[in-house]
Amino acid sequence: MLSGVAVLLASVGASLGVGAALEVGVARAGEPTAHVSRTISLSETAHLHRTSGRGITIDQPLNEMGSASGTIRGAIYIHLKLPAVNRVTAEVNIYPSGGSITGYATARYSVDGGTASFSGTMSIARGTGSYDHASGSGLSFSGTIQRSNDAVSVHLSGRLSV
């Protein structure tokens, strides 16, 4: 039955550009369980505003919230830190319907007048609910910060398995 579901998902996924795979695990009671993972091509754009902090430093994160749109939709929270003058790190939390995804990003950071920009990579740390098994590959993390008001635009792309 499970393999039938996997085949069905794979065929649906193929038509949508989504890959599917079957993982088999062992539950607490010792009974085998199965998780059907699917891989989606992620392309998210979000516009966020500052919720606390002012500017980013090594010990003072810039906390931002907004809405993500694209492949998945939901609230997005980003905590940005600047461990070096040209490098930014971020914790990214996305709350789509049915779960959440948490990732960590590191990116090159530069300032060009009133706009700062960053570009780097992100990895998925964990997920909950429908995204309990979330993992990513080739995820990019880029965006801009308006220095006058700390408004952030961010773009995430790559492959996400859930």
Partner: protein, 265 residues
């Protein structure tokens, strides 16, 4: 680092004539000594502040030091110019050179100061270049660039634009401002002047920016560098490395003491 000069650098004829009777101040090898000082205003943990820094260069022989060719100023970890609202506009070096400060947006200003230089035929007490401006320049390789505009009138008549690049630093330091200092000829083809001291600020003190609001320009004060929320044991370290035209170098360091704890209640 690129250097720009609007005119050939010259001094008055009278001083040039005087030069004929004197040896260049840096003709012989000397031992340079430098001192550095830095301060925060206001000096309060976590507060937006203006950094004042300055250095003096002298020689043990009492002669003018050789011309300075590069300065690398290292600043404490946790102090980061990119987290401020300083430098919201970019100043183009060519416009700065052609029109002076009027060639750049007020929103590109980062700070200001002055310098003392010694012309080879000077009195030994130095002559002031009263106006040095620091502005946000076009980034280089993604790094923030600080433009310095020196506007000398007499005895050295020079309008110079040179730049420093903000780079990462490690250990106790968070960033460094690596600046290539141009040689300033005293007279065309003549010996270069020596820099004796520089004072400058980086921060919002006495700077006014403008933003558009409902069709009007509204003045505001930019947010400066924040003093880190925690003070390292021994205070906030600054250091500077000086390299001179003759290949010699020296260094200096300074510490801004931890501010006194604020009383609660």
């Amino acid at each position: 680092m690129r250097t720009h000069a609007r005119t050939s650098l010259a001094v008055t004829v009278a001083l040039a004539l005087t030069a004929c009777a004197c040896l260049p101040a840096s003709a012989s090898a000397v031992s340079e000594q430098a001192t550095l000082h830095a301060s925060f205003s206001p000096d309060r943990l976590g507060a937006s502040t203006t950094i004042s820094f300055g250095f003096q260069i002298a020689t043990t022989e009492g002669l003018a030091p050789p011309p300075l060719t590069s300065l690398d100023l290292r600043m404490p970890a946790g102090i980061n110019f990119t987290t401020t609202t300083l430098g919201l506009a970019i100043c183009q070096p060519a416009a700065l050179l052609a029109k002076g400060l009027a060639g750049c947006s007020p929103n590109s200003r980062l700070g200001f100061g002055s310098a003392y230089v010694e012309v080879p035929f000077g009195t030994g007490s130095g002559d002031e270049i009263p106006e040095i401006q620091a502005l946000m320049g076009p980034p280089h390789d993604g790094n923030m660039v600080v433009l310095f505009y020196a506007n000398g009138k007499t005895p050295v008549y020079a309008q110079l634009v040179f730049s420093g690049e903000v780079l990462p630093a490690y250990g106790a330091f968070g960033s460094q401002l690596a600046t290539a200092v141009p040689l300033i000829a005293s007279v065309p083809g003549g010996p270069d002047v020596s820099i004796l001291s520089v004072q400058s600020t980086i921060g919002p003190s006495r700077l006014t920016y403008y933003r558009h609001s409902h069709g009007r320009l509204v003045p505001f004060h930019p947010v400066g560098v924040s003093v880190p929320a925690r003070c390292p044991r021994g205070g906030f370290p600054f250091s500077a490395q000086f390299v001179f035209q003759d290949g010699s170098s020296t260094s200096a360091s300074s510490t801004v003491p931890c501010p006194p704890r604020r009383r609660r209640g």
